[in-house]
Amino acid sequence: MGPLLYAALLPLNHPGHFLHWHFIEISVANTIVIGLMLLTFVAALVLPFPGRRRRKENQ
């Protein structure tokens, strides 16, 4: 039952989806991963780090 439920939620029994732009061809899955990496990179630069103010005050 378990595997069937997962298959219903996320069917993988089909060819992968690809994006085409001129000579560039990339799978949707890889595009999503690259997008998530860019988002994480920007978030790491802008989000405040816990305890940063306290450390600066101690110094």
Partner: protein, 214 residues
């Protein structure tokens, strides 16, 4: 044994040189500079943490073999842990690479730290490739038959044959992990010796302070 004889021993000289380059307070420091309090500095250690999970799950897979990882629920689970920890490993490593690139982390005599990091990135790609072709399923057959053309075109096919399952498995579980772990150790030791690269403004401040003292 006289003092001069002890001074000449290679073990004594090596110990003194190692302690001079990397004293215990640098090896395991009590604190880091305030600029390290940023999320961008956590991706190096995230990469190493993922690598530890990769190696641990890889050891379990090596103990049980392909019949187990393809044919049982717990085998599928450990196989998936191995795959997803590799995904996190590359995800974190690429963000670490971007961060260090835009910080110009090779500043202040840190060129070797940057170079070992770049070599680690390349070795990791080859390790992942040999892993994908060692899965012993249709996916690995497809990848090996496609990738062999690239290797053959480069002239390396005689030494690195992607269709030779035994050779690829040995590269994946013996040779490349040895190189990877050795390079990670060198990379971390270099980070400890040279310290974490400061931001540009901090670096400029230190240099101008140094110039005013001269």
């Amino acid at each position: 044994m006289s003092t001069s004889e002890i001074d000449r021993q290679w073990t004594t000289r090596l110990r003194r040189r190692a302690l001079e380059k990397l004293p215990p307070e640098k090896t395991l420091p009590d604190s880091q500079p305030s600029y390290v309090s940023s999320w961008i500095y956590v991706f190096g250690v995230t990469t190493i943490s993922a690598l530890i999970v990769v190696i641990a799950t890889g050891c379990v897979l090596a103990l049980r073999g392909p019949t187990w990882w393809h044919g049982s629920s717990i085998g599928h689970f450990v196989n998936s842990l191995h795959l997803w920890s590799v995904e996190i490993f590359f995800f974190a490593m690429v963000i670490h690479l971007w961060g260090k690139y835009f910080m110009a982390a090779w500043r202040g005599g840190r060129a070797m730290t940057w170079i070992t990091g770049m070599v680690l990135f390349l070795v990791s790609i080859v390790t992942a490739l040999t892993g994908y072709v060692s899965q012993s399923n249709f996916d690995s057959q497809w990848i090996s038959t496609q990738a062999k053309d690239a290797i053959n075109a480069s002239g390396g096919g005689a030494y690195f044959n992607l269709l030779n399952f035994g050779q690829m498995l040995m590269w994946h579980i013996v040779l490349l992990p040895l190189v990877l772990v050795f390079l990670v150790a060198v990379h971390v030791v270099l980070v400890r010796i040279k310290g974490v690269v400061p931001p540009f403004e901090e670096d400029a401040g230190q240099q101008s302070a140094g110039a005013s003292h001269e």
